[in-house]
Amino acid sequence: MNGRFSLARVFAMLGKEFIQMRRDRLTLAMLVGIPLMQLILFGYAINMVPRHLATVVSISDPGPFSDSIVAALANSSFFDVVKATNSPAEAHRMLAEGTASFAINIPPNFSRDLVRGVQPELLVEADATDPAAGAYAIGAITTIVSSALRNDLRGPLAARAYAPPPVNVVVHQLYNPENITRYNIVPGLLGMILTMTMVMVTSIALTRERERGTYENLLAMPMRPTEIMIGKITPNIFIGAFQSALILTVARFVFHVPMLGSLPLLAAAGMIYIAALLAVGYTFSTVAQNQMQAMQMTFFFFLPSIMLSGFIFPFRGMPEWAQWIGEVLPITHFLRVVRGILLKGNGFTEIWPDTWPMILFLFVVGAIAVLRFRRTLD
């Protein structure tokens, strides 16, 4: 009997796949090109510093400090102070109407607290529906306000001008409870690029053999379905790992995305995610008769992945049925895991609730792939 799983045959298959991959320059170029292209496109969006955002300042404590802040905001290229008002309600209304993207609230007793050194709060409300636009401006506010006040805080007050910052800028992101900032684009990009390329290259794994007629030969040899599958998808794991490394490196060193958590943990979660995608791709490739069909199936999977994962639309803002679909998709969980690890420094316990759904998905879809695999040409 030769019914046993054979590592030697897996390696035979692997060797063949690596050689073929190396020879397929176009696909290789695409696998490097897609992430680079996406990064450049999105990188442009990330770097696009929006200026002259309509701003309303509501002043509950008029005085020289308030005047300095308004002047500094008006002088900065980020903000256009369209109105200074003493009514917080009006500022709020302008935000809601969209006549202002920012409302900066100078609270009562601002001057007194500032002089006492108790770090008065400067409440910044931002219309975050366009997060990329707001992120830079928000980042700039602390600096602008601090340097404006530095001129006023002289003499005995000079000590207040430096660390800790004289005011405590509190940002309220309105209309976008998920609080998407530019940093969220990188996890989203990582998840999206992997979904696209991993499913695509794997979905043509068997399809291409079928189209070229070599599938019949493969089946005529004593190969087991699992051996073929492992041989087919392992090279793609390397591609996925390479793409992830590429994206993260650019994110870190070009876009200065913070990476607070453990990279090995991220790598482990990434592997699970990639494996889940490969299972999807492989299932497609057991079904697709030609590469065209494989591509169509890939897009059939890709579209909900980007639409319903919280990458494009805020997840909790979607209708419930869409959230349910989103919860099934591995990308939704992967985005949360990456955000958690990179931006919040989450560890294993925090990411586990979003890791097991990916593992479950992997096993269910993987089982479908193995069951769908037919040992015959029927």
Binding site: N2, F11, K16, I19, D24, T376
Partner: protein, 310 residues
Amino acid sequence: MTALGNAIDVRGLTKRFGKKTAVNGIDIAVPEGQVWGFLGPNGSGKTTTIRMLCGLLNADAGEGTCLGYNFRTQAEQIKRETGYMTQKFSFWEDLSIRENLDFVARVYGLPGQRALVDETLEKLGLEQRQNQLAGELSGGWKQRLALAACTLHSPKLLLLDEPTAGVDPKARRDFWDEIHTLSGQHGITVLVSTHYMDEAERCDRIVYISGGNIVARGTVADIIAGSGLITFTVEGDGARQLAPKLRGHPGVVFIAFFGAMLHVSGYDRALLEQALAPYRNDPNLAIRETAPSLEDVFIQLQENNGGASA
């Protein structure tokens, strides 16, 4: 092996694709060590039969063995000991010649893989080109590579599906010499499908299939004798012009051209003679009775069984 010593021994082999019955309950028993020819028009079910024998298609009905293994349940074992050469070249065109052979050797777990592949390349005369991509080879070389690759694991049974289609005569001759060597020296059993008469004549036995049914089988002599055909040749200037005049005559079943010669065949000698009588005295024409050739018989089989290719 079965007690009978048949490498292939199947009965009632049937395959349906939707409503269409591609193979309709055929029986084949090929004794060990013989070379059998598998003939029939396109779409008659040759490829489908071969695929069922090596477990690439599930049979809808039928029972029996291949190499002593149940062909329905022990496909894995059959695959180990069978070499199958597909109708269309099915090795990897983006792998080099050597890489293809290496892959096959590794999948079958053949010991001394390197030496074996070296030896095979030498035998093929492809050592110099071993790093060339298989896709760059000509048809004849592809076919030789395919044969070498599917015999690399020393199979006991070879299933060859139209291996010489589109290959030049010299390459076809070499190919058949190789098959006879494999069969003669190594006792390999061969089932080979073909459209070429000269190849059919090189086989120990022939099975002729049409529309999924076996309509003739046996040695070349058996098949010719069994056809019941009577054939006259017409030679000479104007022989060709005779064809339309003879066609439709009740005694003439079919007419075939062999170069400038005409083969006129039928079942009834008296009627045939009658048809040819008006031309007997034409000094330019020589009319003689002859033994029908295998080709005459196959044309007859094809015409009797619906004829046209699927």
